[in-house]
């Protein structure tokens, strides 16, 4: 789902006088401090950091082997041995959530990296060169955009098979146009700045202009877009896995844990409550982070 623009108008008005240009590197320390003063950004970063630590240290934190079945403890209530209870095979839900976070986060990060790489390149080329190339590229992005995100991902998975690389590619393709649009818009703005023209007049080559002058100027909106896209990617991955078209059991992912829990939900609500809560919290984290980043990096940004 794409988030509606939510600029903070007063903030935007206050900063409107600020010039668009300037080297991003020089301002970075003050931006980090500004981020540290933004409650949404702090809360979001803490949540995301906690998840990353949990995923990286899954073997350390997991109370049990996520695949170990316990016939004596099927659908056990949350308690001492199993903080989040067990599922229909007696597998420890907390351990499966921890290992599942590696899958769910891994797929989401990889697919957003793909979307960022592909969309960013298309956007830079489109925005910098303009003309017929721009039209062709942006019309193709319009075509991808003409499919509802979840539906296109479902269709790709259905046709190309439910393997992890296809999953990453499907989600990546679906979110590519957003990066292409954001990047292209920013490049169009940056291209007109005087010192970019000065660099061109001095005879700087295209790669140099793009890397040294344009890219540093367009990072802010792209960083914000990345954070928001991560939240969409996690939701999409879990929806696909929930429908049986994403990560396949027995590999645990939050979405397929929820799918398996559906049949036992009324008997053992914890099987469904915890995976969904795990998804909601990390998506909230990326949304908070995205909101905070937008307020600090680019108050005028509209999606």
């Amino acid at each position: 789902m794409s988030t509606a623009p939510a600029p903070k108008p007063a903030l935007a008005a206050a900063r409107r006088g600020r010039a668009t240009g300037g080297a991003a590197t020089r301002r970075r320390p003050s931006r980090v401090r500004a981020l540290a003063r933004t409650p949404t950004a702090v809360a979001g970063s803490l949540i995301v950091a906690a998840y990353l630590v949990a995923a990286a240290g899954a073997p350390l934190f997991a109370p049990a082997d996520p695949a170990a079945m316990a016939p004596t403890a099927l659908l056990a209530r949350p308690g001492a041995g199993h903080p989040f209870g067990t599922d229909q095979f007696g597998r420890d839900i907390l351990s499966r959530l921890l290992y599942g976070s590696r899958v769910s986060l891994g797929v989401s990060f990889a697919s957003v990296a793909l979307a960022l790489g592909a969309g960013g390149t298309i956007g830079v080329v489109s925005g910098y060169y303009g003309g017929a190339l721009d039209s062709v590229l942006m019309r193709s992005m319009d075509v991808v955009f003409a499919f509802p995100a979840v539906l296109l991902a479902i269709a790709i998975m259905a046709v190309a098979g439910t393997t992890p690389p296809v999953l990453v590619a499907a989600i990546g393709i679906v979110y590519t146009p957003q990066f292409a649009r954001v990047t292209r818009g920013s490049v169009l703005q940056a291209r007109g700045i005087e010192y970019v023209e000065a660099a061109r007049a001095q005879g700087a080559g295209v790669p140099r202009i793009l890397l040294h002058h344009i890219v540093p100027n367009i990072l802010a909106p792209i960083i914000v877009q990345t954070s928001l896209s991560l939240s969409f990617a996690i939701l999409t991955e879990s929806a696909l896995s929930f429908l049986g078209l994403g990560t396949q059991p027995p590999t645990p992912s939050w979405g397929n844990m929820l799918a398996e829990a559906r049949r036992f939900m009324t008997m053992a609500p914890w099987t469904a409550v915890f995976p969904g809560a795990a998804i909601s919290l990390i998506v909230l984290g990326f949304n908070l982070l995205g909101d905070g980043l937008r307020d600090v990096l680019d108050p005028r940004l509209r999606l």
């Binding site: 988030t3 509606a4 903070k8 003409a146 499919f147 539906l151 479902i154 939701l235 559906r262 909101d291």
Partner: protein
């Protein structure tokens, strides 16, 4: 206005053309071809028989020619034949379309009905505890997956009649029973969209309240109520139309997932079942139809916006 409309319609053609190519290629690029798909692995055939079948299916021709054949038939309403039931695909899809449309429309109504008033209140009480509560609630609403919300609602309301699954009643047959069944699906799908509208209306109204003409209206001594109702709200709410356009994709994609959770016999569930049975003409038909609906919704949104805001027409 006519010029604007003509321009928008012309701009739509390349997109629809591209969409049709993607949907066409989606299935044609499958490993194996339609003949193998049709026969499965059970039937043994000689290569000559296979070639004959390929000729009959029209898939011995080069890909571009196949596309021309296919799009020609699609434009005449022939979406192909189901590999499972051997029935034409389109009538089966259209029979289920109203259910999917009903869910999306109800979800949209719920989202607008919740999102707009709450967003207005939050903007007018900016910085108060109520505003903070609404902002946090909005972020939560955005973050909860709709299918999980659906499952949790079913769990909480397990003994209530609105949580009965598996007995679909048509809207025309029994409106009350139908709406009882549709309530939870529509709420599950609508809540996060309500959060989107709420956030948008809040920021849009805040921005308008900071405009010069609102300050002028206040300065000439108008009542706050009149300033808000007559000057600010009108301009703040018009852009909501465009958000409906962006979010139509969320609704149309989300209904596929929600129909599955509530076992509603809509178009999305038809597609999911077809995926399970490798019945690709049905999948292809549903994807094409939903993408077409999405494109047309956005056209309708643009037209509506141009009607509501004359500035758009002259741009």
């Amino acid at each position: 206005m006519t010029g604007y409309l003509a321009g928008r319609l012309l701009g739509l053609l390349p997109v629809l053309w591209g969409v049709s190519i993607v949907v066409f290629l989606l299935v044609r690029l499958l490993p194996g071809d339609a003949v193998q798909m049709f026969l499965g692995t059970q039937v043994a055939m000689t290569p000559a028989q296979m070639a004959e079948l390929r000729r009959l299916f029209g898939i011995d021709k080069p890909l571009p020619l196949q596309y021309v054949d296919w799009i020609g038939r699609v434009l005449q309403g022939d979406f192909g034949v189901s590999l499972r039931t051997s029935r034409p695909v389109l009538p089966d899809i259209l029979a289920r379309l109203p259910i999917s449309i009903e869910i999306t429309v109800l979800a949209l109504v719920i989202a607008l009905g919740l999102g707009i008033p709450i967003g207005i209140v939050a903007a007018l009480r900016r910085g108060t505890a109520a505003d903070t509560l609404v902002t946090v609630g909005g972020l939560l609403g955005l973050s909860i997956p709709n299918f999980w919300l659906a499952a949790m609602l079913l769990l909480l309301l397990a003994n209530s009649p609105i949580a009965s699954i598996g007995t679909y009643v048509g809207l025309a047959a029994n409106p009350l029973a139908n709406l009882t069944i549709m309530a939870l699906p529509a709420i599950s799908l609508g809540v996060s969209l309500a959060a989107v509208f709420m956030r948008f209306v809040r920021s849009s109204l805040l921005e308008v309240l900071g405009e010069d003409y609102v300050r002028t209206a206040r300065a000439k001594g108008l009542l706050a109520r009149i300033v808000v109702n007559r000057h600010a709200l009108r301009n703040a709410l018009i852009p909501v139309i465009t958000v409906i356009g962006y979010q139509a994709g969320y609704l149309l994609g989300g209904t596929v997932v929600i129909e599955e959770v509530f076992a509603l016999p809509g178009m999305g569930r038809l597609a999911l079942n077809a995926i399970g049975q490798r019945d690709y003409p049905v999948v292809q038909g549903v994807v094409l139809l939903i993408a077409g609906l999405f494109v047309l919704t956005n056209l309708a949104v643009d037209v509506l916006y141009a009607l509501a805001d004359p500035r758009v027409r002259y741009r």
